[in-house]
Amino acid sequence: MKRYVIGLSLLSLLCLAGCAEKLIRVQPYEMEHFAQDKMQFTPLGPRTVFETHIYSIREASAGGLSGFQGGCGCR
């Protein structure tokens, strides 16, 4: 597992640093769909928070549900 973690991290490093231009797959003016609620990772934020709490006391697992995303990119 340790090798996989380091290997994946190095691969990410190479991809992100060397292929940055190729990772621009969506232009800023093409992000209309990602501004919609149904295209968010957590369309219903309060439900996500509440059910995370519930599953933490109804199950023995946790994690893996980070909410970070780029969204529509409008600044």
Binding site: M1, K2, V5, I6, S9, L10, S12, L13, L16, A17, A20, E21, I24, Q27, P28, Y29, E30, M31, E32, A35, Q36, C72, G73, C74, R75
Partner: protein
């Protein structure tokens, strides 16, 4: 070390690697903005229909005026937030040979039209400026737009004077007005 999870040392390495990735990918900015229009370059002409009416307009029709070309969308919150301020700029400088041109790039115009209607109701007057609709996103593609929204200040000869990435805040709006004053001289 127990099987199945990363040791503290590996986790520390992971965090360091993520940090390096972040620093290195800062350099991606230079690639991202390559090819964008620069000041002094002639703005590519376009012909677009009106957003609220079918009347077409081309950029060439505005030669002799200082133009602020704003590319916006109804799904872009910051685009909508600055619209009232930019229309106020049109009212301030409109009689001196300034034109605010708002080009909407929604896939369908209904939301943009509804927004303009509500804005007109809120401002208690017709939205100022020239409102155009670019369904095929010809202008963002031609101008290699890299942010939403983006505004282009174009001089009386049709050349780019300045490009503003992102929306205007109170402080950057003052700077915009100073640039418009300079361009109108």
């Amino acid at each position: 070390m127990e099987k199945g999870y990363a040791s503290p040392r590996v986790r520390a390495h992971l965090i360091l690697i993520m940090f390096i990735v972040v620093v290195l990918t800062c350099m991606a900015q230079t690639f991202a903005f390559a090819g964008m229009p620069v000041a002094g370059q002639q703005a590519t002409d376009f012909v677009l229909p009106g957003l609220l009416n079918g009347q077409t307009l081309s950029l060439k029709d505005l030669t002799g005026k200082v133009v602020l070309l704003n590319i916006w969308a109804s799904w872009c919150t910051s685009c909508k937030e600055e619209m009232e301020d930019l229309m106020a700029v049109q009212e301030q400088y409109g009689l001196r040979g300034f034109a605010f041109v708002a080009v909407n790039i929604d896939n369908a115009p209904a939301s943009a039209v509804e927004f303009m209607d509500r804005l007109g109701t809120k401002m208690k007057k017709k939205p100022a400026g020239i409102l155009l609709y670019d369904k095929d996103k010809l202008v963002p593609k031609a101008y290699l737009q890299r942010a939403m929204p983006t505004s282009y200040l174009i001089d009386r000869e049709g050349k780019f004077r300045k490009i503003y990435l992102g929306s205007f805040s109170k402080s950057t709006l003052a700077a915009l007005k100073a640039d418009i004053e300079e361009a109108l001289k």
